[in-house]
């Protein structure tokens, strides 16, 4: 597949002067999609989004249009739309670029989505660390109010919408949709038990849709260019697998780690990790080889060097034992790096970020960190490897032992690192050597 002629869609206006202003956005044809959508019936908008095959960019890849249809039909009282801008998956920074460079693209998507879901109040949940995003968004929202793009009777259509910008308080768990809702309500961000799902009972006990920032950014383009255009990009659904929803559209790949040119690249879904590293990230740094690659944020686990030809679409990483595409945040780990250290760093992050509600996650993440700490201190035992595997297989929503997926995200790096690099772990433990005790970058 050739992506050479691909013209960025979501990042098209990146690096233009004043790309974050309304004037600049409108000069490039901004808010035409909104005007178009407001002339349609809200169900028609949903149908278009459904037809486009757009899947949520936040990590789980749930079809966006389908999610919208879960809202009860004859609901009295408000429906809420929450925008998940709590981008805290390690290695992920696409929301930040989208918001800082082109906030109106996201906001237009929000207004269209709100219209489609009959929402009159939308909440933009932004992680606290994104101070610049906050200021940019705030200004952008003010501009929209000044130009009748928000508030009462938007563009004379009779549709009203308010967007509230809400800053989180630095917790990974707020990226989980029900954790986000709890946090938005001013409570401790402990994910809720489901059912009821947010579409039935979400924020403030009202039907709620939670969508990712990047998903929102895709919406105006789908309205402008139609679902066929959107489906012309990416990997079509597997005809042999009725449960495969396909991976359509452009995707922002965040490339970080040991590459020469880390950064954000927009490509149609389905590029292989190897191509991404070689063609778009300038290859592995210092002339080294990649040892492992994280396909989509640390919680998705690791791909080994031999698996780098896996397409990075929604289905690809799963075929090589990873949890999924996640946020498409590719972290490259070179062959000079110890997987024990990498895994320790991942575990430490999850132990720190576990909300502490469910026993298996609260204790399991902390325990695995302690075990890895001991291994790194040269006091490991070979039985620790199986113990880590046992912990990883007993925590998470997949065995059913936790409420939310954070524990799955904690388990997958352990599973994949040990299964794919077991020899290295064994050798490390047998050698009894100590890792440098400096803390690694990434987790705080």
């Amino acid at each position: 597949m050739s992506n050479d002629n691909f013209q960025p869609v979501l990042l098209a206006r990146q690096n233009k002067p004043n790309s974050h202003t309304l004037a600049s956005y409108q000069a490039d044809g901004g808010y035409q999609a909104l005007a178009k959508a407001l002339k349609m019936a809200n169900t028609e908008v949903i149908d278009v989004v459904k037809a486009s095959g757009l899947r949520g960019r936040g990590g789980a890849g749930f079809p966006t249009g389908l999610k919208w249809t879960f809202l009860p039909k004859d609901v009295k009282g408000p429906i809420y739309l929450c925008i998940n801008g709590d981008e805290s998956e390690p290695g992920t920074f696409n929301n930040r670029v989208l918001i800082e460079q082109d906030p109106h693209q996201v906001l237009e998507g929000i207004v269209i989505s709100s219209f489609a879901t009959r929402t009159t109040t939308a909440y933009f949940y932004l992680r606290y660390e994104y101070g610049r995003c906050y200021r940019v968004l705030k200004d952008a929202i003010d501009e929209m109010y000044d130009n009748n793009l928000l508030g009462k009777n938007i563009l004379g259509s009779g549709y009203d919408l308010d967007i509230h910008l809400h800053r989180g308080a630095c917790a990974y768990i707020c990226g989980e949709e029900t954790g986000l809702i709890e946090s938005l309500e001013g409570k401790r961000a402990w994910p809720r038990i489901k059912p009821p799902f947010p579409a039935i009972e979400g924020a403030f006990r009202k039907p709620t849709v939670v969508n990712n920032v990047e998903t929102m950014a895709c919406i105006p383009h789908i309205i402008n260019h139609g679902p066929e255009w959107f489906m012309s990009m990416g990997i079509p659904k597997d005809p042999n697998n009725p449960r495969d929803a396909g991976s359509y559209g452009p995707k922002l790949y965040c490339i970080s780690g040991h590459v020469n040119k880390p950064g954000l690249v927009e490509l149609p879904m389905g590029i292989s990790a190897r191509d991404l590293i070689e063609k778009h990230a300038g290859g592995v740094w210092k002339g080294r080889k990649a040892k492992a690659v994280v396909p989509g944020g640390i919680s998705m686990g690791f791909m080994s060097e031999s698996e780098l030809d896996t397409p990075l679409d929604f289905a690809g990483p799963g075929r090589v034992g990873c949890l999924g595409l996640g946020t498409a945040a590719v972290i490259v780990i070179d062959d000079h790096t110890s997987m024990v250290d990498v895994l320790y760093n991942a575990c430490r992050f999850f132990a720190h970020e576990s909300c502490g509600q469910c026993t298996p996650c609260r204790e399991g993440t902390a325990w695995s960190t302690k075990i890895l700490e001991r291994i790194r201190d040269g006091r490991g035992k070979l039985s620790d490897i199986d113990l880590l595997l046992e912990i990883s297989s007993s925590i998470g929503t997949i065995p059913g032992t936790t409420i939310c997926g954070l524990a799955d995200g904690a388990a997958w790096p352990m599973k994949t690192a040990i299964n794919k690099f077991r020899g290295e772990f064994e050798e490390y433990i047998k050698s009894g050597r100590k890792s440098e005790s400096r803390s690694l970058a990434g987790a705080h």
Partner: protein, 570 residues
């Protein structure tokens, strides 16, 4: 009802039940920590994970793909629950191993040992050894959590029952979770301790030894305690309780679940309000005044004050009761209308019946009145709102009643039967024209006010049956030291007409006797006092108490019909 299959056993369960309740009906325990019938479901401890499937019409079972929490999973017709599969057992073992990771194994000095769910479940479902090689987390104990509550932070399993209790039942929301992950702790805001009137319940709710009652702390190992089923006499709510005692000393009261009475909880007023039963001032020796004993013309042991060197084994009661009986008969004979008996709302139905039937048996004209009904403030309803306001009537989860006695309705039913009407003591005092008084107390605190004292004055015959000294007991012709609630057996009828049986937990101090025993002998009835037998008799004799005919009132008690809820005499 829905048919549910639990480990191959088919049972009928309420469609509103969750898997834990349905399994309980099949006699199967699904271990759980965070779930509690009275609190919201959080499904966070993950101890109750089970396999759940659905039985199809063709007989096959469609199992769910993963384990589900029994607390969160509702049942319906055909639900199949499996709690003993290898998958469930391994998960239970893992969960317990994880819960014990940072739990100190300090059972030997932990107050909860013996009634600890972590101990019990580990024994039943856990494995013997932990694979933890690293040091456990250590945390500071928090004695400041509440006036009555101490938090042993490192024993906490983060079930958050206590947090939910203060939010959902008391509404005071003092407790919360702070920090994150395995460093989480229960805490209060600085200077806002958990001191609400229901706070003691968090100790009972705590499935482990994290929250302990300071009052009970290190006083007794729980396996030495014997439990009696009783009813709290602190107010007319009539909370079902356990009285935990050892060697005639009551160590603590615990609420006993009773959906008909109060639910799962009790208030701190009741919980810690039992101390008076071990008060040194308790009346312990029956006494005849010199005048009466002179009249008896007999040297009675009862007249000598029991000193520490008194080694007399003679029963002081024989003489006292004989004199009392004769004096009462004489007094009734000479002026039946002038004989007034005051029945305390602290008496059991049986005791009230014994006294009333005895006196009315002597002469119908003997007057029976209701003793003072202690009232304090107004009903205190929970959960409180954010500003401490009372909840709407349909949101009330717990009420501490203003009427601070256990059995006004029961005694009133007896009085109504024998007297036809109910007269309060204060009401009739003015025109009493009484020549003889038989006053029964038994209240938790002094009840003889100055006006009562004055009204009684120096009558021809003054008999006082009480547990604490008062001006009346000082000058009583006949003093009958009686029993507190922990020493009686009988029946109490609460504010809603629920008749509950109480068991005697301890013996009376010294020579004091429970009221039932005193009155039975006074009435010259044969045999020993047996609450069940008298209860049946009461049921047969008094139509409004016909529900008592059963004798055995069961764990939760029975509602007596036709109890008029008249305004309380104040």
């Amino acid at each position: 009802m829905a048919k549910v299959i639990v480990n191959d056993v088919e049972v009928e369960a309420d469609p509103k039940d969750n898997c834990i309740l349905a399994a309980r009906k099949a006699g199967v325990e699904i271990p759980h920590y965070c779930w509690h019938e009275s609190l919201s479901v959080v499904a966070s401890c993950r101890m109750c994970l089970v396999e759940v499937g659905e039985k199809k019409p063709d007989g096959t079972i469609a199992w769910g793909p993963k384990l589900v929490p029994g607390c969160q999973t509702p049942i319906k017709e055909g639900t199949v629950i499996r709690t003993d599969s290898a998958k469930v057992k391994t998960t239970q073992q893992m969960t317990l191993e994880l819960l014990l990771l940072n739990h100190p194994l300090d059972c030997s000095i932990c107050d909860q040992a013996g009634e600890c769910y972590l101990q019990d479940y580990t024994y039943k479902y856990g494995k013997a050894q932990s694979r933890l090689d690293e040091p456990k987390l250590q945390r500071m104990d928090k004695y400041h959590i509440g006036e009555q509550i101490a938090l042993f932070t490192d024993r906490c399993v983060m079930c958050t029952r206590c947090v939910r209790f203060t939010r959902e039942i008391s509404g005071t929301a003092e407790l919360q979770v702070v920090a994150r992950g395995s460093h989480e702790e229960i805490d209060v805001f600085p200077d806002v301790p958990c001191d609400n009137k229901l706070a003691g319940n968090v100790v009972d709710l705590c499935p482990v030894g994290a929250l302990c009652s300071k009052d009970f702390l290190y006083k007794k190992r729980v396996w030495w305690l014997k439990h009696a089923e009783s009813v709290c006499t602190g107010c007319s709510t009539g909370c079902s309780i356990h009285i935990d005692q050892n060697e005639d000393k009551v160590y603590r009261l615990r609420p006993r679940e009773n959906p008909l009475a109060q639910g799962h909880f009790m208030c701190d007023e009741g919980r810690f309000g039992f101390k008076y039963i071990h008060d040194e001032r308790r009346l312990t020796r029956p006494k005849l005044s010199d005048a009466v004993s002179g009249a008896a013309n007999r040297k009675s042991h009862a007249t000598t004050t029991a000193g520490s060197g008194d080694l007399s084994f003679a029963d002081p009661w024989t003489d006292v009761l004989e004199v009392a009986r004769r004096k009462i008969k004489d007094a009734v004979k000479s002026d039946a209308r002038g004989f007034v008996a005051v029945l305390s709302p602290f008496m059991t139905v049986e005791e009230a019946y014994l006294l009333a039937s005895f006196l009315k048996g002597l002469d119908k004209r003997v007057r029976l009145v209701l003793g003072p009904v202690p009232m304090v403030g107004s009903d205190d309803k929970y959960p409180k709102g954010p500003k401490g306001e009372s909840p709407a009537e349909d949101k009330v989860r717990f009420t501490i009643r203003a009427e601070k006695c256990p059995n006004r309705l029961g005694v009133e039913a007896v009085l109504r039967h024998f007297e036809g009407q109910i007269t309060g003591l204060e009401q009739m005092m003015a025109g009493a024209n009484a020549t003889s008084w038989f006053l029964v107390g038994g209240n938790s605190e002094g009840w003889v006010t100055e006006s009562i004292d004055r009204a009684v004055g120096q009558p021809g015959l003054l008999i006082v049956q009480d547990i604490f000294p008062s001006p009346l007991s000082e000058r009583a012709d006949i003093l009958l030291p009686s029993g507190s609630f922990a020493e009686r057996e009988g029946t109490y009828v609460n504010h809603s007409g629920l008749a509950q049986a109480v068991q005697a937990a301890v013996r009376c101090p010294g020579d004091a006797r429970a009221d039932g025993r005193i009155l039975l002998e006074l009435a010259e009835r044969k045999g020993l006092f047996n609450a069940m037998a008298i209860r049946k008799e009461v049921g047969n004799a008094i139509p409004s108490l016909v529900a008592l005919t059963e004798g055995d009132l069961g764990e939760h008690g029975v509602k007596i019909g036709g109890v008029a809820r008249e305004p309380i005499h104040s």
